[in-house]
């Protein structure tokens, strides 16, 4: 099955949205969640989640704490902060603006 790279600049949006939908998650879960919901179309280079998460930690969009997985392994769970929720709104509107513009361009006769 064909898989697409995610459009550049949307990784934050995807992570933020995923966390907003499901509350706490660790990195592996986030990667899986993005892939599953996009019906396996979007595939992140999974490792690149981690530098992104580090940057989001610094920005204060997410917080992290260590917990235990169902399989009883130690994992770092990320959670959205208030600032992260605001950022999600910003990224959403930005994304919609861009997509809207692109749509208009390609649908113009």
């Amino acid at each position: 099955m064909h898989q697409d790279e995610i459009p550049p600049g949307t990784l934050y949006l995807l992570i933020l949205k995923t966390l907003a939908r499901s509350g706490e998650m660790h990195g592996y879960e986030i990667a899986n969640s993005i892939q599953r919901i996009s019906d396996d179309v979007l595939q992140v280079e999974e490792g690149s989640l981690y530098p992104a998460l580090q940057r989001m930690l610094i920005k204060g969009w997410v917080t992290a704490k260590w917990g235990t997985t169902a399989g009883n392994r130690r994992a770092r769970y990320y959670q959205l902060t208030a600032a992260g929720r605001e950022q999600l709104a910003v990224e959403m509107s930005q994304f919609e603006r861009v997509i809207g513009a692109i749509t208009r361009v390609i649908e113009a006769v």
Binding site: H26, A31, E46, Y50, P51, Q54, R55, L57, R74, R76
Partner: protein
Amino acid sequence: MNWLRELARRLRMLMHRRQFDADLEEEMRLHLELRQQEHLESGMTADSARVAARRRFGNVTALKEKSHIAWGWEWFEHLALDVRHSLRLLRKSPGFTLVAVLTLALGIGANAAIFSVVNGILLRPLPYHAPNRLTVVWEKNSDGTPDNVGYATYLDWKAQNHTFEQLALYASWQPVLQAGEPEQLNGLRVTSNYFRTLGIQPELGRDFLPEEDNPTALHVVILSHSLWARKFNSDPNIVGKSIAMNAASFIVAGVLPASYESLMNQDPRGGSVEIWRVLGYDVSQPWACRTCHHLIAIGRLRDGVDFAEAKVEMDTISAELMRAYPNEYSAAGVVLTPLVEQLLGHASTPLYILLGAVSFVLLVACANLANLLLARSTKREREVAVRRVLGASRKRIACQLLAENCALALLGAAVGLIPAYWTPRVLAALGTGDLPRLDAVRLDGRVLIFTASAALLTGIATGLAPVLRLSNIDLRESLKEGTRGSAGGAGRRLRGLLVVSEVALSLTLLVGAGLLLRSLSRLLTVSPGFDATHVLTLRTSVLGQRYSDNTILRQFFADAVERLRALPGVESAAAASQIPLGGNIDRYGFHAEGKVNANPELDESAERYCITPGFLAALRIRLLRGRDIVASDTADTPGVILINETAARRIWPGEDPLGKRVKLGGLDHPWLTVIGVVGDVHHIALDAAPDMQVYIPHAQWPFPDSDMAFVLRTVGPPTALASAARRVIHSLDATQPFSRVMPLDAYVVLSVQGRRFALVLIGVFATIALLLSVVGIYGVTAYGVAQRTREIGIRRALGAQPGAVLGLLLRQGLHLILAGTVLGVGASVALTRFLASMLFEVTPTDPLTFALVVVVLAGVAILACWIPARRAMRVDPMVALHYE
């Protein structure tokens, strides 16, 4: 605020970076393992599951690095690494490190020391509230010079102006505190709003009250923190207590905070004002008149008013006063001097000149170090080339080299700060003249920041040349085994340039020092008009009700002089209200009969000495014509006066002044007959032309001074007689306090101390610069000679005369010295005019000084070239040919 929280998070990461790295590693491992597990469950083999998981994850190391970079501390970690590496390198070459650190310590330490002085004296704000709104308000003389104000004028100024929030007065006051051993204090008499004008509140007790500011009110005083601690054991209940001064009692109203330092001291020996009392004047008093110019007015400008507006208004008020009292002012208008300028202005020129001079020392040190680093960089080419080949970027190499230099410079600064710590003590021992606030000079935060910045700048500046060279090296050439350092033409030119600038900078400093030295030696040959050797002086002031009787007062001083004269070892003795160069000046209007102006305020004025007979003899002031004041000139005989040459020449040109009559200090005073003409005396300073001077007998003057100085001409060392003199005076009145017990020549030394201070410092800087330059020139020549050893050998073997080869070797050095000298003379001509105000009878371009300095510098520099060249000549040609 967001960026602040972000910074806090970044800092937390930096501090726990090991933990963060471990966390990241663990969560990545978990991810990979979970993915691998998933693949296994879908039926892959263990190996292919692991490979697939890895492929999906990406480059673990790169990602880890990327996450790490996200924290934003990469530069810091590199820096830490570079510094560690640098320190290791410096430890490996201790000889180089020692020389470099010492050179830098000299340059940076001297700068830190001088900056600490500039900072403590000039840059620190005055200890008043909003000090830049404070100004001194002077009356203006007909020649435009400022003059003190009279009390009546002050009252009009105060009532009529709208530009000053407060206008206060102060006058010098030297009360004798009778607590324990009587002690004369430095004090001020001030109007009750004085501290409100300055914006100071007492720490203990209260400020003066307006109703206390009149002649009949209770005497109240405010003490400085230091006096309170020194004389009253920091008594917490001092407020309201009575203290005895000048045989009267004063009530302590308050104590000022320790942070307050008075700068209004007028004592030439320094020391601070420690006590304040209310002025307590009333216009009816004779000394409160308009022409009684003995008070200094300080004003605080209202908010929104600038100096120009205040001047315009005060000029108008002054013009109206002149119209109303035409005979009591010499000119309309005022002079405003911002308080900062009044208090610190005289110190700023010499201090900024010193700062400039010391920065030259640093530049010479930099040039030397740059030379050293350039020579070293040749040896390091291989090391740098290897690191480049192993993948270090050009930028990383440059950063590493700069970090190395900065570490070196900071090390130098740290060493340099050690002696700089003792700057205040060295300056105090040296004597600085009238530099204010010297006790506040210390290594505070600002000095440390300045020093660190100077060090970093030095590190970068000196490192730039080697960095540029090393980051552009030809890798292939440098890696070849056995190549000599490619000391190309560019490197040699740069080193030459450094030597030229060293010579030029040192020459400029030497010229400055030379000019100051010539000035001081000129000044010291100025005859002061008196003989200062073998004279002891001591001041005393009589106290108490008893001495309000003029006869008793006069008798006390006459008796005291009589008994002092009888002491063994005393040649002659006298007493006088003023001592030349003693910093205390009393000017009186000089109204000559038949030459009085319609407005007597426009008449000349003269410095007045109230003396007992024998004063001229004790100081060996020449009597040119007529007779001296004698014991038979008493209150009952006609008034007499001695005038100096300048007065005779100015008032009676071409006439015989003897027998002419004068009124002193107002037309309502009695006529005095000129009985003699004496030589001029330098009263204010050796470098100021003597003004008109008059001498009047203490026994005749209607207001005999109660504060007098005894002068004793002694056979032996003057200070040996100090205790005998005290005993004699105490045998007359045991309550007499003494102050300024010192030989007369000490006053002369004090009067030139400011010049000596500048001379010594600039001289030291010039010497350091010269030594550094000599080392630099020597180093460059020696290096050049060493590189040409083989060539020398060949030339010698082919039969070249030693002299010709020596000339060849010297030529390069001589060219550099010549260029440096020309440049230095040019720079000196341009810069020495800033010294003009500190020179005496020497022009800023004094040809003799310039010539001497050029000869000395060129001589020393040529010697520094000649020694290594000469040594090279002694090498056996065969050895030279086998060199390397």
